[in-house]
Symmetry: C2
Subunit: 229 residues, 2 copies
DNA sequence: TCAAAAGTGTTCTTATTACACCCATGG
DNA sequence: CCATGGGTGTAATAAGAACACTTTTGA
């Protein structure tokens, strides 16, 4: 085979870091690999990109196959292409992350996985391939993004309390926030709709429920508004 | 050829948006394509990634071939992989940008280019492929980066005046800055060394020269410091 | 002596931080 | 009536914005 044909002896894949938020904790959906290489190890869900498939579609497909979810927040982060990153050949992978509302679905592990499971971000062990590095890059991107875009809401149910929102930010940013200052700031943006509803059956004063006003946000953005936490 | 082999009928390339700063203006280095497709059109310098070459190396190589420069600031931005983005087949491209000190070299157009030329960012016309989109993505990333990392200095000579630095920020961010506030802020970071030298042969009061103290910056970063303009 | 850019402080306004007690509910 | 988390305001500090004149040089 001629030298020039070597350019075509490579493949590309997408890997998708699927984030969820539950129980005050940021989670990542990992699969236990059912086939070599790295059989039996936890890894990020991913797949080769089909020849006639755009990259974003491939990442969305991986998510869909695993969760059944569509129209999910998805962002490309970085492409990893070290020559030796895949033991079976040259595979460059385009890393994405997704933000899902964790309660909205059942897991349906796909062909390449024997098992899928949510892992707390703080308890992710040694993953196959260069997936720890990929996870890190995506987590860092999410930290950055959450401060400059209202993407955090993608991880919460439609109706949420201010405390839930605060805990989400605390989990993503890995810092503690002051309750009063957080509320003052988030409410001063006027992007939350007070639903005039409260929690039910909680053993304490029930919290008010809010929803994110996406329509209003997009109108403001068109006028030059910049979300900043 | 079997279906599975189709995964290997694709190639990947890097494209490199090379930024320079001259004459108060942000510039991009473009090549006039000497071969099809898009022969005669301006485009970004780029090349296929060699089978045994890491992505960053490929981007650095493109830069080296065109400018003779090594050890240049280089950052991966985004991967573009629309199925039809290349007229000759499926080519996914990984976009980088570089920051160079524009006076430091002579242009040496390489095989795929008949001509290389600096273009003011505001005067870039219709480029080949999806290169306008790539240029935009890189420009936006640079705007963001320049606010949170001291990368602007990569575009200036080692010794520079505060006014040159201010003009650089104004060109990159496409805004005007207040002279006194800009100086106050940048000097309060204590990252500039006052060289106790001044400009010579200028028809006005000569400006003091400064250099960026990279060693000090890196020490501060290790202690948790965050540059922010 | 003129033109051109360098250099320099203060005031006002706005955003950020720190901080402690009472309230509503279920068990 | 107790435990649990919900909800609220003010004062102090820090950061950002607005703004105009004098200085030094070469021509």
């Amino acid at each position: 085979m001629g030298e020039s044909n070597n350019f075509f002896k490579s493949a590309f894949s997408v890997d998708n870091v699927i984030f969820g938020f539950d129980d005050g904790d940021l989670k990542v959906l990992l699969i236990k690999r059912g086939t070599a290489p790295f059989k039996g190890k936890w890894a990020l869900p991913g797949d080769l990109v089909y020849p006639n498939e755009d990259l974003d579609n491939a990442a969305a497909r991986v998510l869909l196959e695993l969760t059944g979810l569509k129209n999910v927040y998805l962002e490309q982060v970085h492409t990893f292409g070290a020559v030796d990153r895949h033991p079976l050949g040259r595979v460059i992978t385009i890393a994405y992350y997704s933000l899902v509302k964790i309660a909205n679905f059942e897991l349906t592990p796909s062909s390449w996985a024997s098992k899928a499971k949510w892992h707390s971000i703080s308890e992710v062990g040694d993953l196959g391939f260069d997936h720890n590095e990929i996870l890190n890059a995506c987590f860092n991107r999410l930290k950055q993004r959450v401060k400059s875009r209202p993407v955090g809401f993608e991880l919460l149910p439609k109706k949420f309390t201010l405390t839930e929102l605060q805990h989400l930010y605390e989990a993503v940013l890995e810092i503690e926030l002051d309750k009063r200052n957080f509320r003052k700031k988030i409410l001063s943006m006027n992007l939350l709709k007070d639903l005039n509803e409260t929690q039910e059956n909680v053993a304490h004063r029930p919290a008010r429920l809010y929803s994110f006003d996406k329509v209003k946000y997009e109108r403001l953005v068109a006028e030059g508004y910049n979300f900043a936490l």
